[in-house]
């Protein structure tokens, strides 16, 4: 990814900053300018809202043939995660053996290296997920 785009998306990539509709309260990630449900009513009422970073695995796939720049990391796990705020997002699940992943697994966001543009380019950081460490307190 080009550096300017990476830089623009730092709030999302580092801190899962999405948007909350001021009209219906629904939370979107990635951020939206307009709420698809409330449409015009939501204009000017979409507020930044950071996700807490916790969610549940809804589906997953194990990557054995990675795209360029991710070689050497295989096998790794990509999962569709339903965040506690209700939105869905796709993310890599790390520090986990492929056989440990399952639907319903509780995960939390962590901060990792995502992509490195060779040895001379910029290093891009962002969220991945790992198995929730501690027992959840309600």
């Amino acid at each position: 990814m080009a550096v300017p785009r990476y830089w623009r998306e730092i709030p999302q990539r580092y801190n899962l900053v999405g948007t909350k509709c001021g009209s219906c309260g629904k939370i979107y990630f990635p951020p939206k300018v307009v709420c698809p449900t409330c449409r015009r009513k939501s204009l000017g009422h979409m507020e930044d809202c950071a996700l807490a970073g916790r969610g549940t695995v809804e589906s997953y796939t194990i990557i054995y043939a990675p795209p360029p720049h991710f070689e050497g990391e295989e096998p790794y796990t990509m999962a569709l995660i339903k965040m506690d705020e209700g939105c869905y997002l796709m993310g890599q699940v790390v520090d986990l053996e492929p056989q440990e992943i399952h639907i319903g697994l509780r995960v939390e966001a962590c901060f990792r290296r995502i992509y490195e543009d060779g040895t001379r380019g910029a290093i891009q950081y962002g969220y991945k997920f790992k198995k929730m460490e501690e027992a959840e307190t309600p």
Partner: protein, 344 residues
């Protein structure tokens, strides 16, 4: 003088380990003899996608979360490491952004071998005392590298801890800090070189012991205290033996050192070493406990700190670093090399 101390702390050590036995096997050495000689049994290894920035962020986020401090009140972020991911481009800005402390703040990276993290703590203390900032974040973290087959390979590991320094909401007051610094070339790494060089036996007496012992003695004199006045003592841990020998030279007991001695189970986390030791002590300390911590950085210098734990610790959601260390996965030497290859 205004009060200054620790308002929050957080620790992070990667999940992966390699046993000293496994490293010894590859190099035809006797694992048991090596482990007994260094008192290092296993060491932490970063995941393929972990580096000093990611470890610093994880530690800093834990510190912010458990302290309950609003990150916008953090006016300074300093990250001490000898393995910053970039030669030019600060790690501290990555950390500051990831805890949402930007943009009304100052930041910089520090480098002083293994004591860069405690130098960051001293800077934050001064900024708090002078009234320039309300809170400051100081991080010591490393993903240290050793040449394959080098004696350092048994210990060079990864981890870090972060401290929020401030004047209120304290869990430990820092009563005083002193330093002892000379120009001593015991360990170095030249620009562009992947692995450090070191002065072999020269690293002991004139380097580690002279600086750690001198800084600690200076502290005891300044505070008019004796070793027995402290509940816990933390020294920099290049291996498991040096801190115990330093303790003996100074008149501290093994029991005072034990709680903060992590090197036998995680190795030498370089800039993370003294900060992690201190955080392990804060995990168990009670109000009124007195702690002495002295770092060491090759090159060379030591920073010493005298702390008193406050009542604030009682309600503080602690890290339980030692429990976190139980959640681990062992690598063999081949996988360990794969993990390291991605770091460079």
């Amino acid at each position: 003088m205004a009060t200054v101390g620790i308002a929050g702390y957080g620790a992070y050590v990667p999940k992966y380990r390699i046993k000293a036995d496994e490293v010894a096997r590859v190099w035809g050495k006797k694992g048991e003899a090596v482990s007994a000689g260094l008192m290092v049994y296993e060491k932490s290894v970063p995941a393929i996608d972990e580096d000093t920035a990611t470890i610093s962020v994880e530690a800093a986020r834990r510190a912010v979360r458990s302290s309950g401090i609003n990150p916008v009140d953090i006016g300074a972020v300093y990250v001490g490491s000898e393995s910053h991911p970039y030669a030019v481009k600060p790690t501290a800005t990555i950390v500051a952004e990831a805890i949402r402390a930007t943009p009304d703040m100052t930041a910089a990276d520090y480098e002083f071998a293994c004591k860069a993290g405690t130098a960051a703590i001293q800077t934050c203390m001064a900024l708090v005392k002078s009234g320039m900032i309300t809170y400051g974040l100081a991080v010591g973290a490393d993903v240290s590298q050793a040449a394959p087959g080098d004696a350092l390979e048994y210990a060079a590991s990864a981890g870090g801890a972060a401290f929020i320094l401030g004047g209120d909401h304290l869990i430990a007051e820092i009563n005083h800090t002193v330093s002892f610094t000379t120009d001593t070339p015991d360990f170095w790494r030249r620009e562009g070189e992947p692995y450090p060089g070191h002065g072999e036996r020269f690293t002991g007496e004139p380097a580690y012991f002279r600086h750690v012992v001198s800084a600690t003695k200076k502290m005891l004199e300044a505070m008019d205290t004796r070793p027995g006045d402290y509940d816990y003592v933390v020294f920099h841990q290049p291996n498991g033996k040096f801190p115990l020998r330093a303790a003996k030279k100074l008149g501290f007991t093994k029991e005072q050192v034990q709680e903060g001695l992590l090197c036998p189970v995680i190795g030498n986390t370089y800039s993370g070493s003294t900060p992690l030791g201190l955080s392990a002590v804060l995990d168990v300390a009670q109000p009124g406990d007195r702690i002495l911590a002295t770092s060491y950085g090759s090159g060379a210098g030591s920073d010493s700190f005298d702390l008193t734990v406050t009542e604030g610790i009682a309600d503080y959601p602690r890290n339980h670093l030692r429990r976190m260390l139980e959640n681990k996965v062992y690598l063999d030497y081949a996988l360990y090399m794969k993990h390291r290859g991605a770091l460079k």
